[in-house]
């Protein structure tokens, strides 16, 4: 399932647009708290002010710290315009020099009050995003300030700020916890014009997407992609009436556990996609989910034609599909296939319950991707398969070596999907549980590593798992 494209090379011809413009909670949350102006201050004599020194660096490793000793040297960014503003709106500004530095002296300007807002403009918004600050710098480290910050230089105290901009293609950044554990957030038909993905973590790390609901997306309800060592857990969510319930592309280290992906066109996909960085899709856990009845016509269509698929692994490596309930998907319950020249390999499916799927387990390979590779896709008794002689193709008993190397199995044909409906026409969900208390009072916190998941203690969920949050028609 092809996703759009992120900037990876500067080749003018291969245009990777950015995903900017898609409404994403991840990004919206990241900005909270930065633009608050701290009230008007008591006026003071301008002549008393200390200097404001600003250093603007190019953040490389997104750790929120200015690294300036080997092996990581984060250089200064010249030409970034720094503006110091007082509560009355008077300003003083200038560009950073070749070293990315600038010192302004408010005492020689019309600024008054001693407490000022300092903002640094992005030298190239097409390339850079503001860097995040470090959660807890250790002694001696210079934590990066946000690109809008506040200083107090009253009484002649000098102030200095180090801020940074980073290019997402340099590295991935930390991700705040996206939805707090108690919130059941209705993200439905957000915005107008082009809604592709409802809840969307692109190029992010370390976080949890939990207790959320997504519906009516022409792309996927939940999306996590293009991240190395993502360290992201997606849990206790419901996605229904989307083209795809949950999607990962080119992620490494995502756990998708105990969700309900039901009544979409496609329940969940984990795929490799050259249109974004970090292909292939690697290590992930998909466990304890209900993935059922993904044959829904009353959704936007899946643009690549996907329909009736429970879980799809495309050109992925090392994805473990464990203890899921995979039922009633008209094309295939679990479909494992290559993507371009990337074979599906080292994937595991164990302990899943299949029932009423067009084909429970489907697998194909291609000469283009080097033939059939080792995958351990366990077939429970009675489960139907494509190709029919399952053992001859794949089996856990055969160990990890490549199986029938030259094998080139004809593509599995999915059931054709009906025409889609506009995302704005997707019926709204019922009343959803909301977060207890006042959501506005929830403090903004920086990235938290997700709690580890104990796969061992998971069980295959009942059919009704999280059904109370699903639409009545979809329970």
């Amino acid at each position: 399932m092809s996703k759009a494209r992120h900037v990876r090379s500067s080749g003018a011809h291969i245009r990777r647009g950015s995903r900017a413009g898609r409404l994403t909670l991840a990004i919206a949350m990241g900005g909270i708290g930065m633009l608050v102006f701290p009230g008007a201050q008591q006026a003071g004599a301008a002549g008393d002010d200390g200097t404001v020194s600003v250093r603007v660096v190019r953040e490389i490793n997104a750790n929120g710290i200015w690294d300036h000793t080997a092996p990581i040297l984060e250089p200064g960014l010249p030409g970034a315009v720094v503006t110091v503003t007082d509560p009355q709106g008077h300003t003083q500004s200038g560009p950073t020099d070749d070293q990315g530095q600038l010192t302004l002296d408010p005492s020689t300007s019309s600024l008054t009050g001693g407490k000022y807002r300092v903002s640094v403009s992005n030298p190239d918004p097409a390339v850079f995003s503001p860097a995040f600050a470090a959660a807890s710098p250790t002694a001696g480290q210079t934590s990066l300030s946000p690109s809008v910050d506040f200083v107090d230089v009253s009484g002649g105290k000098p102030a200095s700020i180090t801020t940074g901009f980073w290019n997402p293609s340099d590295y991935t950044q930390d991700n705040p916890r996206i939805i707090s554990a108690h919130q059941r957030d209705a993200v439905y038909g957000v915005g107008a014009g082009s809604v592709y993905t409802d809840i969307y973590a692109f190029n992010r790390q370390h976080g949890t997407i939990a207790n959320s609901y997504a519906s009516g997306s022409a792309d996927s309800g939940f999306y996590v992609g293009q991240c190395l060592h993502c360290d992201i857990v997606v849990t206790d969510n419901v996605a229904e009436y989307n083209a795809v319930g949950y999607e990962s592309a080119n992620s490494t280290g995502v756990s998708v556990v105990r969700n309900r992906f039901s009544r979409n066109r496609v329940g969940l996909t984990m795929s490799s996609d050259y249109q974004e960085a970090f292909a292939p899709q690697r290590k992930a856990i998909v466990a304890g989910n209900v993935v059922s009845d993904n044959n829904e016509a009353q959704t936007p269509e899946q643009a690549d034609g996907g329909f009736g698929i429970g879980i799809g692994l495309g050109g992925s490596t090392g994805v473990e599909v464990l203890k899921n309930r995979i039922e009633g998907n008209r094309s295939a319950g679990l479909l494992v296939s290559p993507a371009e020249d990337l074979a599906a390999k080292d994937n595991t499916a164990k302990g899943n319950v299949y029932a009423g799927n067009g084909t429970d387990l489907a697998f194909w390979s291609s000469a283009q991707s080097g033939g059939t590779q080792a995958n351990c896709l366990e077939r429970p008794a009675g489960a139907t398969t494509y190709p029919r002689p399952w053992r001859a193709v794949l089996g856990c008993e055969s160990g990890r070596g490549p199986l029938n190397d030259a094998e080139d199995i004809a593509p599995f044909r999915t059931v054709p999907g009906p025409a889609g409906i506009a995302f704005l026409d997707v019926a709204p969900p019922g009343l959803l549980p909301t977060m207890p208390g006042d959501p506005a009072s929830v403090p903004y916190r920086r990235a938290q590593a997700p709690d580890p998941i104990d796969i061992g203690s998971l069980t295959v969920p009942p059919r009704t798992w999280l059904a109370e949050a699903a639409r009545r028609s979809a329970r």
């Binding site: 080749g11 003018a12 011809h13 291969i14 647009g17 592709y196 022409a218 249109q275 269509e301 291609s366």
Partner: protein, 341 residues
């Protein structure tokens, strides 16, 4: 298909400057030299006619053959050969078979062994078809021709691009400028890999489609060449653009979507094919140049797997060759073969 530099010539100096750094080719119509870092006929502004000739050497040692060809080519293009007194913008590009370059069998391949393989390829191009044929004769006189095909390109319209036999603009999306050419086309030694495919088109069948259906097959507007995702002829494709109901604006099986390099994770090839018509049927003598054969192979696999154009074509001849690095009076065409092989 229209070569990149024709567009550059029409669009002004910026494009020209970018190309002249990489191109040993001439401006259209003017006499040329065969010498340079690269052979002519790759980034050269595409001329109106091209003749592709695949030769068998029957075990004759290749280096002397190449040396002789190189000298003859320089005589021809500079107007010093008696057979072609007025060569105009003639270029000759020479490629050799390379055991490291192998094409798999693709879905629409329908040729026998006599229409693939071969030891040498000559691509002879020029604005004057008479000069093209005379030069081809001169160069192939002492060799056995395995197969050959003469082609022509559609005249450039007001927008600077010619059309192929399906009536659509061709050659719009191309690697341009030093960076893209070195990423996708030129090897470090100045050579490049050439793929040739004689593709017979069911032009009549295609024309039976309503124009909007034809546009869905290609992924661009027939009148203006604009991508179905919007904009104008040179606007980049927006492969993610969808209708509110979730369908791609550029259909999932449109040729330009399937051929787009983004999905293969490989750089863009340079396409420089010619239309043909005659006994062999009519269609496109597809010629592409790429640094790495995988650019073509991965793209062709994607076309096999889902290009709406497949219904209207079959491939009746095929080949892959290494276009040797450019040469000079002191370092002949065969020099690189001596050194590395």
């Amino acid at each position: 298909m229209t070569g990149p530099s024709r567009r550059a010539l029409l669009q002004g100096a910026a494009g020209l400057a970018a190309l002249s750094a990489c191109s040993s080719g001439p401006e259209q119509g003017s006499p040329t030299t065969a010498y340079g870092v690269h052979q002519a006929g790759v980034t050269t502004a595409q001329q109106g006619f091209g003749n592709l000739v695949v030769l068998d050497l029957h075990h004759a040692p290749i280096v002397p053959v190449l040396e002789a060809l190189g000298e003859e080519i320089e005589r021809l293009v500079s107007g010093r050969a008696a057979d072609v007194p007025e060569p105009g913008d003639l270029t000759v590009t020479v490629g050799v078979a390379d055991p490291g370059l192998v094409l798999p069998t693709f879905a629409r391949d329908t040729f026998g062994p006599e229409h693939c393989g071969g030891d040498l390829v000559l691509q002879v191009c020029g604005s004057d078809p008479v000069a093209v044929l005379a030069a081809s004769d001169r160069l192939t006189r002492d060799h056995a021709v395995r197969w050959s095909q003469l082609g022509f390109s559609g005249a450039a319209g007001k927008d600077g691009f010619g059309r192929n036999l399906l009536g659509f603009h061709d050659g719009i999306v191309q690697p341009r400028g030093r960076e893209e050419l070195s990423a996708g086309v030129w090897g470090d030694d100045g050579s490049t890999v050439m793929v040739v495919r004689r593709i017979v088109l069911d032009v009549e069948g295609f024309n039976d489609l309503a124009v909007d259906q034809q546009e869905a097959v290609i992924g661009r507007r027939k009148s203006t060449g604009a991508p179905l995702s919007g904009g104008h002829l040179t606007s980049p494709l927006d492969l993610a653009a969808k209708t509110p109901a979730g369908a791609y604006l550029i259909p999932v099986d449109a040729h330009v979507r399937r051929a787009h390099p983004l999905a293969t994770g490989r750089p863009l090839m340079l396409r420089r094919g010619y239309s043909f018509a005659g006994e062999q049927g009519s269609g496109l003598l597809f010629i592409s140049f790429q640094r790495d054969l995988a650019e073509f192979i991965q793209t062709q696999y994607r076309l096999d797997a889902g290009d709406a154009l497949n219904r209207y074509l079959r491939v009746t001849a095929s080949g892959v060759f290494r276009v040797l690095p450019g040469f000079s009076a002191s370092r002949g065409l065969g020099a690189s073969m001596n050194a590395d092989r």
